[in-house]
């Protein structure tokens, strides 16, 4: 019996009290999310229209779109926006590339595959504070292991202050984020690889296709759906994560590692300027909403199938 038919029967046979049951079952979850997500979201929208600094609550007043106008003229806002583009534009594709390589390797059959798979996803499980501190230690300019290794291999001649150099800090953070996030792609892609029929490869190798050709014409097209979904999901997740950057550099040196969400957080936390911070957060959310819409459209399509 199809779902619609069951639903229709439910509707005919059940008294209205029964028809309310699904709503009753949904109520606790919906109610709590309304209280802790939607209410605060509205509060953020409202706050962004006020000049509201936590340290002087008496001076709070409605200013309309002043915060947004101020934002457009704020140099740091544009710097942060640029960094956000670099940060997401580098991190997600690199995570995906590394995840793809790892997945293809770990899809082969060898005796310690289970162990290798378990070890490779460890970065995913670590607390971001620990990740940030760990990498600060690795990048440390005096005693960090990275400088030590590169000096010994004579790749560099003098110690590089990875996180203190405004030109390098953002890229150093991207490396850390790639490390943190590639296991997610690996896991998604490994699952995707199971969905490609073995017969396609067998047919191709009978036709004499090289393994590179097989990769381009069978593996990649077979993975396209998974790759797109995973990338959209990851863009949203990476964009939301500010803890690693916050602990690694706090946005510095200067504004060298400021991203939009971090800027909003720093404004509120250090300057206690909640009105302006909320305005930045709202703008960032609107920018991200485009990606979320794409993702939703994809899941909708898959659900309909």
């Amino acid at each position: 019996m199809s779902n619609q038919a069951i639903a229709a029967l439910d509707g005919v046979r059940m008294p209205s009290r029964r028809r309310l049951l699904p709503y009753v079952l949904m109520t606790p979850a919906v109610l709590v999310t309304l209280l802790i997500v939607f209410l605060p979201m509205i509060e953020a929208l409202v706050t962004s229209l006020y000049d509201f600094v936590l340290s002087r609550p008496r001076a709070t007043q409605f200013v309309g779109f002043d915060n947004y106008v101020r934002l457009m003229q704020d140099e740091v806002f544009w710097i942060s926006l640029g960094h956000t583009a670099i940060w997401i534009g580098l991190t997600v594709p690199l995570q995906m590339a590394l995840g793809l390589v790892a997945a293809i390797l770990l899809n082969r059959t060898f005796f310690w595959r289970g162990l290798a798979r378990a070890l490779v996803i460890i970065p995913w499980a670590l607390p971001s504070v620990v990740i940030a501190l760990m990498w600060r230690w690795i990048y440390d300019s005096n005693t960090g292991v990275l400088n030590d290794l590169l000096l010994r291999l004579s790749i560099i001649q003098t110690a590089v202050p990875w996180l203190a150099d405004p030109d390098r800090a953002l890229y150093a953070i991207v490396v850390t984020l790639v490390w943190q996030g590639f296991p997610f792609f690996m896991v998604m892609i490994l699952a995707g690889l199971q969905g490609i029929p073995k017969s396609h490869y067998e047919a191709a190798s009978i036709d004499g296709a090289s393994s590179w050709k097989q990769f381009i014409h069978i593996t990649l097209p077979g993975l396209a759906g998974v790759l797109i979904t995973a990338a959209l999901l990851r863009i949203i997740w990476v964009a939301n994560s500010i803890d690693v950057i916050y602990v690694m550099t706090g946005g510095g040196p200067g504004y060298a590692t400021h991203t939009l969400p971090l800027y909003a957080f720093v404004k509120a936390r250090q300057n206690l300027d909640f009105g302006y911070g909320s305005a930045i957060a709202v703008v960032f959310t609107l920018l991200l909403a485009g990606v979320v819409a794409l993702y939703l459209a994809r899941t909708r399509k898959e659900a309909d199938r």
């Binding site: 699904p22 606790p28 670590l126 620990v130 501190l133 760990m134 990498w135």
Partner: protein, 278 residues
């Protein structure tokens, strides 16, 4: 593909590249572990000790004796367990409703939970701070549990729905023809069968809440300082004691890593189900 590859070939195409990736993935954590086993004097004089000969538990002893790290882990435990309990209890019935009923508004509600999961933390953290302050909940475990639930609830609704979907409808229908009510069927038939899924969802919520940092930093304080915030405060004002800090990192991350290894296989199934269908 049954033919046996020569050893040198499988070494070159499989074992060595895989080893490189494994090394890249766990290298930083291993390095932190080495650092934590290096006594402070050795660390400042000769750097990190990579051989067990000069290892000692000095940093761990100092961590437990001189800092309140165990208390902080206790706060993390309370917050994480609270989030698991709240997250799972409100989600189970919702997931059951989404899975078993077709009702007006179902799609909207489902999408709602998906979207909520994608709101930037920054958008929520500022108003949540204002809200908690108004309610006098700052620096309480309840505040942190509620804040963590903003992620935990939508996530577990989504996961539990996929687990319950995998249980054949005919089973709860059979129970109902035998005279069970809907809710009794949920409790006696669906819940026991979904238990493995519920447990792994709970464990994943636990890990996320255990690892959470920004809410704990913003909404917490002296009375609720969690492990993640405590690690950050181990950074001294003038110099960083990397040995002590690494010991904190190793101990703090251990529960999450162990639990994650324990549930990863089942979890991955639930997470990828949506994405792989296409």
């Amino acid at each position: 593909m049954k033919r046996k590859e020569p050893l040198w070939r499988s070494l070159l195409t499989t074992h060595i590249p895989v080893l490189a990736i494994v090394f890249f993935a766990i290298g930083p954590y291993l390095w932190m572990f080495f650092t934590s086993m290096t006594p402070a004097q050795h660390l400042s004089a000769q750097g990190v000790a990579v051989t067990p000969l000069s290892w000692s538990f000095e940093n761990y002893e100092r961590l437990l004796a001189r800092t309140s790290f165990l208390t902080n882990m206790g706060h993390s435990l309370i917050v994480a367990l609270g989030t698991v309990v709240l997250g799972l209890t409100v989600s189970v019935t919702a997931a059951y409703a989404i899975s078993r009923f077709r009702f007006p508004g179902r799609n909207v509600l489902m999408t709602q939970f998906l979207v909520v999961n994608m709101f930037p933390v920054v958008l929520l953290i500022l108003p949540l701070f204002i809200l908690m302050r108004r309610l006098g909940l700052l620096d309480t475990h309840i505040a942190l549990i509620l804040a963590n639930s903003t992620v935990a609830i939508p996530f577990s609704v989504w996961m539990l729905t996929s687990y319950i979907n995998a249980i054949p409808r005919s089973l709860d229908e059979a129970a109902m023809t035998d005279g069970c009510s809907r809710l009794a069927a949920l409790r006696r038939v669906v819940l026991p069968l979904a238990l493995p899924g519920i447990i792994s969802t709970g464990i994943y919520i636990f890990i996320t809440a255990w690892n959470e940092y920004l809410y704990a930093l913003t909404l917490g304080g002296r009375n609720t300082r969690t492990m993640t915030v405590a690690i950050q405060t181990l950074i001294g004002e003038y110099q960083i004691e990397w040995g002590l800090l690494s010991a904190g990192g190793v101990v703090g991350a251990l529960p999450a890593v162990v639990l994650f290894l324990f549930v990863q296989r089942r979890l991955v199934g639930g997470l990828t189900q949506g994405a792989v269908k296409g």
